[in-house]
Assembly symmetry: C2
C-alpha cells in the first residue's frame, strides 16, 4: 500500500528498540506530516551524532573530541576512577553529585555465554591507566547483575595483582539486585556511592 | 553531561509523538551504538521520504509521483470514491480487500474549535471530482467521532446539492464510537464497509 520511501522509513524506524510495526507506522506518518525543518532536524541530528561522537581516548566515554568533558575537567580528582559498563551509566552517577573523580567505560560486561571476554572490554586499558597514573581508588560501578558482578570480581582480582596499593571498592548494596544502573533513582544511587564497600 | 550532538539528538527524538525524555535517551544511545549503515539508513529514509513523497494530484493521498498507486491502477472502479480523513486511513481499508474503488483524502476533519473549516480540507476538490467524473457512489469513511460525523454530514449535504444523482453512503455502524479508524481490525472494518448505509 505504501510507496517505497514510506515503507523504507517504517522499516528503519521499526529497527529501533521498543518500536513495533504499529508505532513505526505512526511515527512515519508523523514525520510525513511534520514540516521539513523538524523532520530534517532529526535526520541531521542522527548524521551529526554518528560523524562527531567518538570514544574518549582516556576513559572511552562518548566524546565530541579526543577527550570527554570529564577527562578535560582539571578540577576532577584523577586519583579516583569510577568503572562503568556503558556510557549511559555515567549519567545517573553524575546526577547524584556525590562523585568528583574520573570515569572508565568498559563497553559492556563479561558474559561467556554471549562471547564477551576480557579482551572485548577496555580492561587492559584500565590496568595500564591505574599502573601509570597516580590512582588512589577504583570504584567498580558495574551493574548489580550476574554479568556486572562477574566483571567487578574479574577486574578486582586483576587490580590486586597489578596494583596492590590501589583501593578497589564496589557500589554499596541498596540497589535492587537485577536492576539496571541506567534507571536507578538519584537518592538510592547516591547512597550506594556513599556507602561503597571494599571488594 | 551529554556532548551537544547527543543532546541535540535526544531533543529531536523527544519531539516524536509518544517518545518521552527517557525513551529519547534510550533511542539516542541505541543509535550511537549501532553501526553507521543502520543509523544513516534511518537518516536517509527520513530525508528520502520528505523529498520524494508528496500528495497525489487526483485524490491527495501520499504519492511518490504525481499520482498515487490507487489512482494509477486502471483496474480500480473510478465510479466509486471512498472519502477518508488522513492518508493512513487508506491502509486499514485496503487490508479488508472489500473495496476496489478510488480514494479521496480530505487532510483532516471539520473542527470549528481547532479552526478547521471546509476550506482547509480537500472538499471543493472532491465536489469538482464528483461533478466532472462518472461517479456512481461516494462512501464517506471519515472517523466515527464528532468531527468525523460532522465532516460526513457536511459533505453529504454538499453532494446532495451539487450532484443529486450520486449515491452517498456512510460506513456501517459496527465501529465503536470514539475509536480511530487507523487502528480498526480488518473484520470489523470489512463488515462496516460491506454494510454501509445511505446518509
Amino acid at each position: 500500500v505504501h510507496p517505497p520511501p514510506i515503507q523504507r522509513l517504517v522499516t528503519e524506524l521499526g529497527k529501533l528498540p521498543g518500536i513495533g510495526a504499529r508505532t513505526a507506522q505512526r511515527l512515519a506518518f508523523h514525520i510525513l506530516r511534520s514540516d521539513d525543518a523538524d523532520a530534517l532536524g532529526l535526520a541531521d541530528a542522527i548524521r551529526e551524532v554518528k560523524s562527531q561522537i567518538g570514544l574518549c581516548e582516556v576513559c572511552f566515554n562518548l566524546a565530541d573530541g579526543p577527550r570527554c568533558r570529564m577527562c578535560q575537567d582539571e578540577r576532577r580528582d584523577g586519583a579516583l576512577i569510577c568503572v562503568v559498563e556503558e556510557p549511559q551509566d555515567v549519567i545517573p552517577i553524575e546526577r547524584t553529585h556525590e562523585f568528583r573523580g574520573r570515569y572508565h567505560v568498559l563497553g559492556g560486561a563479561l558474559s561467556p555465554i554471549d562471547g564477551v571476554d576480557p579482551d572485548d572490554l577496555k580492561i587492559a586499558e584500565l590496568l595500564v591507566r591505574v599502573e601509570e597514573g597516580e590512582v588512589r581508588e577504583v570504584v567498580l560501578a558495574t551493574n548489580p547483575t550476574t554479568t556486572g558482578e562477574a566483571t567487578a570480581l574479574h577486574i578486582g582480582e586483576a587490580l590486586r595483582q597489578r596494583a596492590p596499593e590501589v583501593a578497589v571498592t564496589r557500589l554499596a548494596s541498596g540497589l535492587p539486585v537485577g536492576a539496571d544502573l541506567e534507571y536507578a533513582d538519584e537518592v538510592t544511587l547516591g547512597k550506594a556511592l556513599a556507602g561503597r564497600r571494599a571488594l
